[in-house]
């Protein structure tokens, strides 16, 4: 499985993401700069976290309108898997590739800590390494992770199994509606999540709970189990 990591000015979690993908898939991802209009032939495109364009205007708003995003949209329409983590999630909602919006944390504070995540839907390309209802540990680090959708859209997300992760055991760090931590698009090939699974993939991180997301998306579940 081949992967690509998108790089934009102000993203700073790209190196962690490249390391995670390299360790889990056994091959380094291709890096794609924001001005590129064609994405190489890969199975998974990852938009990592950080502070693209200094979070000016709204988090992810300017990055979402860069040329590379049009190319990513086209790949996603063809069924290529796309994962956005943290700022990557914010970019995907701003680009209209995922529903809803990510607003300022209800505490108004930047949160950097570990939370618990419930795997709400384990029948996705990103979560088949887990069991439905399984609770995993995962770090978060963000200022704008407060997920919002109107009530009509919320019911449709629930009905279609698009809510993939929820903050569990009272650990919602940002006031996110319905404890939502990660959502996917209707066709199931684009996932956005605020927590950072790339920072919990090996013993040196203190655990490997996040590994399953990459193992699932890269189709190496059996190899890393």
């Amino acid at each position: 499985m081949k992967s690509a990591v998108v790089q934009l000015p102000g993203l700073n979690r790209d190196r962690d993401m490249i390391a995670a993908l390299t360790k889990i898939s056994g091959r380094a991802p291709i890096t794609v700069w924001q001005t590129e209009t064609e994405i190489p032939d890969v199975d998974l495109i990852v938009i990592p976290g950080g502070f693209s364009y200094g979070d000016y205007l709204r988090c992810g708003a300017i990055a979402a309108r860069m040329p590379v995003m049009q190319a990513i949209k086209e790949k996603a329409d063809q069924g290529v898997k796309v994962l956005g983590v943290c700022n990557g999630f914010q970019i995907l909602v701003e680009a209209g590739m995922l529903p809803g919006a990510l607003m300022r944390n209800s505490s108004l504070k930047f949160v950097c800590k570990e939370v618990k995540l419930e795997v709400v839907n384990a029948e996705t390309d990103f979560t088949r390494a887990y069991e439905k209802g399984q609770v995993i540990r995962c770090p978060v680090a963000h200022h704008d992770g407060n997920y919002f959708v109107d009530s009509e859209l919320l019911s449709s997300l629930e009905d279609n199994g698009q809510i993939v992760f929820r903050y569990a055991e009272g650990t919602n760090p940002n006031g996110s509606l319905s404890d939502i931590a990660g959502v996917m698009n209707r066709s199931g090939n684009v996932l956005g999540m605020m927590p950072h699974p790339e920072n919990l993939i090996e013993a040196a991180h203190g655990g490997s709970d996040g590994r399953g997301i990459f193992a699932s998306a890269l189709d190496v579940v059996a190899a890393t189990a």
Partner: protein
């Protein structure tokens, strides 16, 4: 252009400002909503075109219409 959060969308910053105004002793302050103002100069004398362009700018970039409303005033 003025961009504000839609009704029904929780505005934590507005809430914090509301509390701060109360603690300064301003009584009778109802809901506070925080928003953004964009001053944009556009070339040309065609008001209708300018308004159409500004509307497109709001829709495409300046406002996130999932959570925000916008209003345009020309002078």
């Amino acid at each position: 252009m003025t961009v504000t959060l839609k009704n029904g969308v929780l505005d934590p910053q507005g809430k914090a400002i509301e509390g701060a105004l109360g603690s300064l002793g301003f009584s009778g302050v109802g809901h506070v909503r925080q928003g953004k103002v964009f001053d944009i100069e556009v070339d040309g004398a065609d008001k209708a075109k300018a308004e159409a362009d500004l509307k497109a700018m709001c829709e495409k970039l300046l406002a996130n219409t999932v959570i925000e409303n916008y209003a345009i005033s020309l002078d």
